[in-house]
C-alpha cells in the first residue's frame, strides 16, 4: 500500500540508500470532494438559509433609496421607513393586535377544518370506489370554480357573518389538501401492494402501514399550499360586514389612500406566509425523517 510516494503519511521522505533526510514534503492533503469537479457544477451548490434573504433585503434597499431620492411618491408607495414607523405605532396602540387576532382566528379556524375535511375526503375517495365516484368529481368542480365566485351564494345561504367567512376559507383550503393527498394515495407503488399481499396484511393493516404513510408526502405538499391559501380569501371576505381584520384594515386604508397601512398589511401576509411554510416544513421533516439517505 505504501509503495506509492503519494500516500507516504509522514512529513518526510526518507532516502533509504543514504539514510539522509531529504527536504520535508508537506503532509498529504485531500482536495475537498467538490473541488475535484472540473468546470462549472451542473447543479448549483447549496446556499445557506441566510443567503435567501439577499433578494428581499436588496429589494427593500432599492425601494428605500428610490423613496429617499424622491422617485417614489408616498401616494404611490410609502417608504420602508414610514411603513416601519406606522407599523410599530399601530402595534403599540393595540390596533394591529386586534385586527391580526380577528384575521388569524378566521384563517386558522378555516385552515383546521379545511385540512381535516380535505384529508378525510381524500382518504374516502382514494381508498374506496364509492368514495371516489361520489367525491372526486365534486372536488374537481370546486377546484374549477374560483373561491371568490362562491361568495355571493354563500352570503345568500349563510348570511354575512363569521360562519360564511370561515366556510369560504374551509372550501378553499380543502382543495389543495384533497388533490395532493388523493394523488399520493392513487400513486401508491404497486410493488408495495404486492408485498402487502404476500405478507398477508389485512385491508386495515394495509391502510395504516402502507397507504397512509405512502400518502404523507402528498399531504404535506397540500398542507404547505393550504397554510397560505387560508389567508388569500380573507382580504376580500374582510370587506364584508366587519370592522376587524387585516383585510378590513387594508381596504379602509385604500379608501383613504394610506399606502403605508396597505404595505403594513402586505408585510404581515408575507411574514405569516414564510413562517407558516417554515413550520410545515419542520413538521414534514420530522414526520418524514426516514427519507434521510446514505450520503446526505
Amino acid at each position: 500500500m505504501t509503495d506509492h510516494a503519494n500516500i507516504e503519511p509522514a512529513g518526510f521522505l526518507v532516502d533509504r540508500t543514504s539514510q539522509r533526510r531529504l527536504r520535508p514534503t508537506p503532509a498529504l492533503r485531500f482536495a475537498p470532494a467538490s473541488g475535484r469537479q472540473r468546470g462549472r457544477p451542473l447543479v448549483p451548490r447549496k446556499i445557506s438559509p441566510a443567503a435567501l434573504l439577499f433578494g428581499p433585503l436588496a429589494m427593500v434597499a432599492v425601494w428605500q433609496l428610490s423613496s429617499s431620492l424622491g422617485w417614489l411618491p408616498e401616494n404611490i408607495l410609502a417608504a420602508p421607513a414610514t411603513v416601519l414607523s406606522v407599523g410599530t405605532g399601530l402595534a403599540a396602540d393595540g390596533t394591529l393586535g386586534k385586527h391580526f387576532l380577528a384575521s388569524a382566528t378566521r384563517a386558522y379556524l378555516g385552515l383546521a377544518v379545511g385540512v381535516a375535511l380535505g384529508l378525510v375526503l381524500a382518504l374516502l375517495s382514494g381508498l374506496t370506489r364509492v368514495g371516489e365516484a361520489s367525491i372526486d368529481g365534486l372536488v374537481q368542480i370546486k377546484r374549477a370554480v374560483p373561491t371568490l365566485a362562491l361568495i355571493p351564494l354563500a352570503i345568500l345561504w349563510l348570511g354575512i357573518g363569521e360562519v360564511m367567512k370561515i366556510t369560504i376559507i374551509v372550501t378553499s383550503v380543502l382543495v389543495p389538501v384533497y388533490i395532493n393527498t388523493h394523488a399520493a394515495l392513487r400513486g401508491i407503488d404497486m410493488r408495495y401492494v404486492e408485498l402487502a399481499r404476500t405478507t398477508g396484511l389485512t385491508h386495515r393493516e394495509f391502510i395504516r402501514q402502507v397507504a397512509i404513510p405512502g400518502a404523507l408526502p402528498g399531504f404535506f405538499t397540500g398542507l404547505r399550499l393550504a397554510v397560505t391559501t387560508c389567508w388569500t380569501a380573507l382580504v376580500v371576505l374582510e370587506q364584508i360586514n366587519t370592522t376587524k381584520g387585516i383585510g378590513y384594515l387594508m381596504s379602509r386604508a385604500r379608501d383613504y389612500g394610506q399606502t403605508e397601512i396597505i404595505v403594513v398589511g402586505l408585510v404581515i401576509y408575507a411574514v405569516l406566509g414564510l413562517l407558516s411554510d417554515a413550520l410545515v416544513r419542520l413538521l414534514e421533516n420530522r414526520a418524514l425523517s426516514y427519507r434521510k439517505v446514505i450520503g446526505t
Binding site: 408495495y192 408485498l195 398477508g200 418524514l288 439517505v293
Partner: protein, 243 residues
C-alpha cells in the same frame, strides 16, 4: 443464536403444478407446464429473458390476477416471496419491516433472532434508506425467514448486488436454508449461482421447461470440478450459449 424451526403444517407439502398455462392478451407465456418439487428441495430456474420464469413464480405466489390461463397449483399456503428489489417499506424501521403482518406475540423476539442470523444484529431501529443494497436484501431475507415459510419464491434476489456481496449472500442463504429447511424456487440469470446453490436446476425456454437436472455435487461446490463444468456446459447448451 438460531431459532429452532417449528414444525408447521404444510412443512412436508410438496409443490405440484399440472398443465399450467398463462398468457397475456392472447399471447402464450407459459405453455402447459407440469412440475413437482418435493418438500425441502432447492430448485434453481434459469432461462432467457422473457421465457416466463417470473410468470411461473408469480403464478405460484398468486400475484398474477392480470394473467389469463388454467391448470392447477398445489403449494404450501405458508410461502414467502423474495423480490429482486428488497421492497422494504421506507417509513418502517428494519424491525417493523421484518415483522410486517406478523401477529404472534413473539414476533419481535423472533425478528431480532433472525436479524442476528443474517448478520445485522443491533440494526433493528435503522431506516431502510440508511442501509446498503446488500444489507437491505438481507433484511428482506430476514423478513422472509421470520415467517418460517414452507416455500420461498425468490425472483433474482441477488440480481442487483455486486459480485462480492452476492457470494456472501450465497453462503448465508445456503446456511440458513440448511437450518430452516424450506422448499426454495430461485429464479436467476446466473448459471454459476444456480449450480452453487441448488439441489436441482431447471432451464426454461419459451414457456416450457426444457431441461431438468439434479445437481448431485457435494458442498461447498468448486467451479473447477469436472462434474460442475459438465453440468455448466449442459445448462449453457440448453440456454443456447456456446462457450
Amino acid at each position: 443464536m438460531i431459532a429452532e424451526p417449528m414444525p408447521a403444517t404444510g412443512h412436508d407439502q410438496p409443490v405440484r403444478i399440472r398443465n399450467l398455462t398463462r398468457g397475456f392478451g392472447g399471447r402464450v407465456v407459459l405453455n402447459d407446464v407440469s412440475l413437482d418439487i418435493p418438500a425441502g428441495e432447492f430448485v434453481a430456474l434459469i432461462g432467457k429473458s422473457g421465457s416466463g420464469k417470473s410468470t411461473l413464480l408469480r403464478a405460484l405466489a398468486q400475484l398474477d390476477d392480470d394473467a389469463e390461463g388454467g391448470g392447477t397449483i398445489d403449494a404450501p399456503e405458508n410461502l414467502s416471496v423474495l423480490f429482486q428489489d428488497s421492497r422494504l417499506l421506507p417509513w418502517h424501521t428494519v424491525l417493523e419491516n421484518i415483522t410486517l403482518g406478523l401477529r404472534s406475540p413473539d414476533a419481535r423476539a423472533r425478528a431480532l433472532s433472525v436479524l442476528e442470523d443474517v448478520g445485522l444484529g443491533g440494526r433493528q431501529d435503522a431506516w431502510p434508506n440508511m442501509l446498503s443494497g446488500g444489507e437491505q436484501q438481507r433484511v428482506a431475507l430476514a423478513r422472509s425467514l421470520v415467517r418460517r415459510p414452507d416455500l420461498i419464491l425468490a425472483d433474482e434476489p441477488f440480481g442487483a448486488l455486486d459480485a462480492l456481496t452476492r457470494i456472501r449472500m450465497h453462503g448465508l442463504l445456503t446456511r440458513l436454508v440448511s437450518i430452516y429447511r424450506p422448499t426454495v424456487l430461485l429464479v436467476t440469470h446466473d448459471v454459476d449461482e444456480a449450480l452453487s446453490l441448488a439441489d436441482r436446476v431447471m432451464v426454461m425456454g419459451e414457456g416450457e421447461i426444457v431441461l431438468d437436472r439434479r445437481v448431485g455435487l457435494a458442498r461447498p461446490r468448486v467451479k473447477t470440478d469436472g462434474a460442475f463444468a459438465d453440468l455448466r456446459a449442459a445448462l449453457l447448451g440448453a440456454l443456447g450459449v456456446d462457450e
